[in-house]
Subunit: 173 residues, 2 copies
């Protein structure tokens, strides 16, 4: 299904090019690319929300929430189940795919903490056990440290068709 | 202005609660929380896009793109300038705030690479100079390593009003 949602846009009616077609960021945004999706994931990740009513407290409209939860299930981010002891109840549980959104949520929060939190961070993410503060980082597999956007380049990977890779700009180093 | 866009929703007509009000992820999503915003930032970060036409190749509708670029300037993510030698031309340049979205973009791409890229990653992010592969990570200030969402807890920070902090669940650990 993820494929089904990503593929129809390739060469589609909107005239999109490789920039947003053969790009995992674009594909990811097709699944979680609006305001509520990451807030729903965040509430499931950190507030233990599983039931429709748990997510309602985000202030999201009922129809939008239902659509998002259905979409998450279809995309493999959540699974739907009914507890054996309460078969009339529906729970939405993050899958491994959904739980791995934690990196995106923490990175987004850190950016908001830095630029949109004049009173200081509303919440801290802390490490189970040691209680240390958790922050997002970019790590280089070779030398370990990445200090900012200026140090990041983009290169074609195995999933980039050759004719499109040839059109990618070569940023030098 | 960022304040102006974040504050009106507090206790606003939509009945939102602290979940999406006093939360830097929610504030960040108010600025970059739809599909195109991060793709525009990504194109500026990694493809050197500065002019309206550069961003058009994303396949975004003209009116939507104009709105997003104006929004980015209003939010402090980009600045608008005209080159002295070409005063009729407008360039959009990422600010420091905008450039720091790199962590969010790389985290989102990595998630898409893992779950939505059956042919392998379309692109790699590499480190200027050493050429090493760049990956997102979560780092604990105390012990260094964070292995997954299960190890991440949320705690009230200085920007959380006390009466709302008291309502936050204590997830133990």
């Amino acid at each position: 299904l993820l494929h089904a949602s990503a593929s129809p846009t390739v060469g589609g009616v909107l005239g999109r090019t490789y920039d947003n077609e053969v790009c995992s960021a674009a594909r990811a945004l097709e699944v979680v690319g609006e305001r509520w999706s990451l807030l729903i994931a965040r509430k499931a990740l950190f507030a233990g929300a599983t039931r429709f009513g748990d997510f309602r407290s985000l202030g999201i409209a009922t129809n939008v929430l239902a659509g998002r939860l259905d979409g998450f299930v279809a995309a493999g981010i959540m699974t739907r189940r009914s507890p054996a002891e309460r078969p009339e109840q529906t729970e939405y549980l993050l899958t491994e795919q959904g739980r791995e959104l934690v990196t995106v949520v923490v990175a987004l929060t850190a950016w908001g903490d830095r630029w949109l939190a004049p009173d200081g961070p509303p919440v801290h993410y802390t490490h189970t056990g040691c209680g240390g503060r958790i922050a997002p980082a970019l790590v280089c597999a070779d030398c370990g440290e990445v200090h900012g956007a200026d140090e990041v380049r983009v290169r074609p990977g195995p999933g980039m068709p050759a004719h499109l890779a040839a059109r990618m700009p070569d940023p030098g180093d």
